[in-house]
Symmetry: C2
Subunit: 203 residues, 2 copies
DNA sequence: TTTTGATTTAACTGTGTAGTTAAACCAGAC
DNA sequence: GTCTGGTTTAACTACACAGTTAAATCAAAA
């Protein structure tokens, strides 16, 4: 017998991801997902029984791809400044290739934050190792004192905000010029890291 | 004759704002808005002919309340560091009172960025005065060199991200403790400003 | 008292959408 | 050749929702 063709399932997931990410759960249409996957609605329900189930699969996929990688980098064992540079560079690079994922995740989380608790149980996310490294550097007197959580939020904010705020930033700061904005994002890999390091390094 | 009761119109707008902000355009229901405004669906359409028109009114209202105030503060004539402190303090305060507005605006803008161009024509937003102030300080040698646009993005990112990212930050960094997160936001008024100033001030 | 406009009621239209169903088709496995 | 499971087709149900309509009510203004 023909085994379940995994390309069908993955092409559904890919199509669903595309539609859900751009239109959100409420705005997405099962028909549109089927069309984009090159199949029909019946087969869509044959693979994923409901819109909710399909969305769940897409969301978890996007979430797992983006959120845990954050802390994996931060919990490696590199010197702090180097770690910040690598993190900002890698994360902005990842976001540049998937610019609509953060907005999608943030919006769907605020639409249903219950979902989050469920996912968090499966995905371990522990900021403590990084926090301890920061505290150690402070004790050693090599950086200015700062709440490690402030530093984490700042790291994330400086990387993610240029993407979720792109529509308005592009207009207000770059006269809607796409190339200039892309260039800005590219320079930002250096600039954001430098901005953070400047702020915490001892005078 | 009884004049159009402006309380009805404003209670509709208030209800609509509440529903649209929490559920988004697609997720919002006209019936729910009518219920929340204490009226019926027929009267809702009597005042605002369509869902689109009602949404437009709500969105412009939210947008005008939040976006231009940003640059008004930044274009005042205070010394740079003082300006940064005041901006961060005022903006985080404003956001604390309306924590769901930024997510709403960002999401709806990415859902329909055409809307933005239309609004932008009515709302003047010019970052140049602030940029010139920054460039002047750099020339005078009183701060480290930085692209003024980077600085603007950083200012906004550090203020806004804690609100749009609240669901996940609260869980990962604060074990879902609401009070601790509120306290964090409050401390952040000082911390974020200090973080920025530390970064740009000459050693 | 008459007029006018705000407001309600309740039923209705039309449409879009998720999900179902049944029959048929097709290709590889046995 | 038959069986099996992925796949299509096309029609269908059931429902939710935006928007409409018409008639009635009510309160204030004239």
């Amino acid at each position: 017998m023909k085994l379940t063709d995994s390309t069908t399932e993955s092409s559904i997931l890919e199509a669903a991801k595309h539609v859900f990410v751009f239109k959100g759960f409420e705005g997405a249409r099962m028909q549109e997902i089927a069309d984009e996957a090159g199949i029909n609605k019946a087969l869509l329900h044959y693979y994923f029984r409901s819109k909710d189930k399909l969305f769940e699969a897409v969301f978890i996929d996007a979430f797992v791809k983006f959120v845990p990688t954050i802390l994996i980098t931060l919990n490696s064992n590199s010197p702090l400044f180097r770690k910040i540079e690598v993190f900002v560079d890698h994360y902005i690079e990842l976001l540049s290739k998937n610019p609509f994922i953060p907005g999608f995740i943030l919006h769907e989380l605020s639409r249903n934050s219950e979902r989050l608790s469920k996912i968090m149980r499966t995905v371990g996310l522990n900021p403590d190792p990084f926090s301890e490294q920061v505290l150690a550097e402070i004790s050693a007197g090599s950086i200015n004192p700062i709440d490690p959580r402030e530093l984490i939020v700042n790291l994330l904010a400086l990387c993610i905000f240029p993407f979720v705020g792109k529509p308005i930033l592009k207009i207000v700061l770059f006269k809607n010029n796409e190339e200039e904005y892309a260039e800005f994002l590219n320079k930002r890999k250096q600039a954001a890291a430098q901005f953070i390091i400047n702020s915490i390094k001892k005078a």
